[in-house]
């Protein structure tokens, strides 16, 4: 693999990270607000008692370094980001942002990856078979609803699933088919003990609806994309040659058709990761899943800028890493890929 390609791609990765962290730093500061002061005033009004609010706010701002010139804050921020130190939340004092994120990000990453990969594999497989066996019209008919579903946003579809598979079942049969919220059995005291089969089961059971709302929506798009690529691939000369050589159907399907059609699908996956992550955050809110979505809503409500920044940065970082990894996988799948950068 030419080193020029790798260097360029890694450079791109750092540019994305830099742009993301710069956006994350400057956007909230455009407002010129003082969340400490506002929150203190709010609390003081609720208690009907106001004293020393300005001094307390000033002291807190000094402690967090918000009173320094912007460029100094930026330099400090960048050096912290480089060390992966996300600072402290303004309103959750007991834990650092790193701790808060460490508790939640696992659920988000797990949900995103499992459902994205499952959807990608099943969808791509369905699309490939659909085109390979053109005479199988039943499969095409089965695809139609998935295609329509692919137009609907994940979290809207999550609400639909919630209505159909939890609410309606509960009303009709007085029985919960799938749990409507949470990520594991609420009676579990020690979590997460992943070696405990009971806990694992309850986690999977709780993740079913959120994951389904991502998988079912994504399937159609992958299938149609793969089908389109297979059409082109089937027309290639090497396919004809493979058939003329008398290669078995299986070999032509897996080694020739699929492998040659897979690359644009992976590019598509790399381009979609950002969209999927945005979608998952909303799905988590619909299902009260304990990932970063809930933390994000809470921090938005508090105008907790350091925490919002931390969450957004971490999600952008994960997205960029995934894109980078996918771009590095291309050459393994398709050795013909040109690295000239065009």
């Amino acid at each position: 693999m030419p080193s020029k390609y790798i260097v360029g791609r890694v450079g791109m990765f750092f540019l994305t990270i830099f742009l993301a962290s710069t956006l994350v730093f400057f956007l909230p500061r455009l407002s010129g607000r003082d969340p400490f002061r506002e929150k203190l005033f709010e609390e003081a009004q609720r208690g009907g008692y106001l004293e020393d609010v300005d001094e307390i706010a000033a002291a807190l701002n000094e402690k967090y370094g918000f009173d320094r010139p912007l460029w100094q804050q930026y330099v400090v921020y960048l050096s912290e980001i480089a060390r992966f130190d996300l600072g402290r939340s303004q309103f959750t004092f007991s834990k650092t942002n790193n701790q808060l994120l460490a508790e939640t990000i696992g659920w988000t990453i797990g949900l995103t990856f499992v459902s994205a990969i499952v959807a990608f594999l099943i969808g791509t497989g369905m699309g490939a078979i659909m085109e390979w066996r053109r005479q199988n019209t039943g499969l095409l008919a089965a695809m139609a609803p998935f295609l329509m579903m692919s137009a609907v946003p994940y979290f809207i579809f999550g609400l639909v699933l919630l209505t159909v598979f939890w609410f309606s079942w509960l009303q009709a049969f007085d029985w919960e088919l799938f749990p409507p919220y949470g990520a594991y059995d609420p009676t579990v005291e020690e979590w997460p003990d992943w070696t405990d089969l009971g806990f694992l089961g309850s986690a999977l059971w709780h993740a079913t609806l959120p994951a389904l709302s991502i998988v079912l929506v994504s399937l159609g798009g992958w299938a149609m994309g793969m089908r389109g690529m297979m059409v082109t691939t089937k027309g290639e000369d090497y396919m004809l040659q493979a058939e003329a050589k008398g290669l078995p159907d299986k070999v032509r399907f897996y080694k020739y058709a699929i492998r040659n059609s897979l690359l644009p699908q992976l590019t598509g996956l790399a381009l979609q990761i950002g969209l999927i992550v945005s979608g998952v955050v909303l799905v988590e809110i619909v299902f009260t899943y304990p990932g970063v979505g809930g933390l994000l809503v809470q921090s938005i409500r508090n105008s907790d800028y350091p925490l919002i920044q931390g969450i957004v940065f971490v999600l952008a970082f994960c997205t960029a890493v995934t894109t980078l990894v996918l771009d590095m996988i291309y050459p393994l799948i398709d050795p013909r890929i040109s690295y000239s950068g065009n």
Binding site: M12, A20, V152, F155, L282, A316
Partner: protein
């Protein structure tokens, strides 16, 4: 159609001057209808959106004429009905005064949906238009100027696409209008900030391909200026792509609108579809079995997105004529 054939097959073959409407009908609408009969996806999508538009218009007319209850402000009855709680309990009785029921705060759900649908659509339409405009300009600048300009456009687009849009939108929203949430226009502009990289990428690659085509070379050799080539030669050929990108951008922008509002970053007291979802999720409407509150906005949103998706798939056929032969 019958009128047209009558004049042609009439006993006196005098050339009857067609009225402007007639000619529009014969030259534009009939071919369009014939095309739509072939392009079933587009026809389906357009009819779904048409039904929604029709329902919204009928709903507006119905509410405008209805002057029940004292309306102290000089807002339209519909806005009034959608935003002011009539102080009822959440309830559902399809044969009562509120056909779709009332929500947790006692607001009329039908009025809420009727007024929220065009609002959501409008935000998306503005954001997508700005996004396409900026994307178009950057794509032409990049593809035409080449060199540094192209490098910058490409780097910006490539590095912005992996960043999850919704998250940047959250940052913009928290800083633009904190506390109250964004107004509709602010929301539209905030979404537009992120709506351009996608179209810019698609249009740029199209322009690059088009620049090498024979008719562009021809125009260049006959001394047409760069602007002349862009507007007279390329734009007409780019139109299907622009339309397809617009529909895609509109879908994305509406998704962003609803998403941001669902997070509570829009104006949560405004009667928009997203604000409705915000209240539904944050008051746990389903846990309280208030399904009638959830179902109407979900149906409208799903119909909107499916309709736009079908139009977009139909446009794909126009943009890529090679697809036309295939089913």
């Amino acid at each position: 159609m019958t009128n047209a054939t009558d004049t042609v097959t009439g006993s006196e073959p005098t050339t009857v001057e067609p009225t402007p409407w007639e000619s529009i009908y014969r030259e534009r609408l009939v071919p369009m209808g014939r095309y739509l009969r072939r392009n079933k996806l587009m026809a389906g999508g357009l009819s779904i959106l048409g039904v929604i538009v029709l329902l919204v218009i009928i709903g507006h007319l119905f509410y405008q004429q209805d002057d029940r209850k004292g309306n102290p402000q000089r807002v339209s009855e519909l806005v009034y009905a959608a935003s002011v709680p009539p102080r009822l309990k959440p309830s559902w009785n399809p044969w009562g005064e509120y056909p779709l029921g009332t929500d947790e705060q006692g607001r009329d759900i039908l009025a809420h949906v009727l007024i929220g649908t065009p609002k959501t659509f409008r935000i998306g339409a503005i954001a997508a238009a700005i996004g396409i405009g900026v994307g178009l300009i950057l794509a032409f600048v990049g593809a035409y100027a080449g060199g540094w300009a192209d490098l910058i456009v490409r780097l910006l687009v490539d590095s912005l696409i992996p960043i999850p849009g919704l998250l940047v939108l959250i940052l913009i929203a928290t800083s633009l209008n904190p506390g109250q949430g964004l107004t509709e226009n602010q929301l539209a502009f905030a979404i537009a900030v992120l709506a351009w990289p996608g179209p810019a990428r698609v249009i740029r690659s199209q322009v690059l391909v088009m620049r090498e085509r024979g008719y562009v070379t021809m125009a260049q050799m006959s001394g047409t200026s760069a602007l002349g080539i862009i507007f007279k030669e390329m734009m007409p050929n780019l139109a299907p792509y622009l339309l397809a990108s617009y529909v895609a951008a509109l879908t994305g922008a509406m998704l962003a609108t609803i998403g941001v509002e669902t997070l509570g970053l829009g104006d949560i007291d405004a009667p928009t579809l997203g604000a409705m979802l915000y209240w539904i999720i944050f008051t746990n409407a389903l846990l309280k079995a208030q399904w009638w509150w959830l179902v109407p906005p979900i149906i409208v949103i799903v119909a909107l997105f499916v309709g736009l998706f079908m139009i977009s798939a139909g446009l794909d056929e126009v943009a890529n004529p090679r697809l036309r032969r295939r089913v």
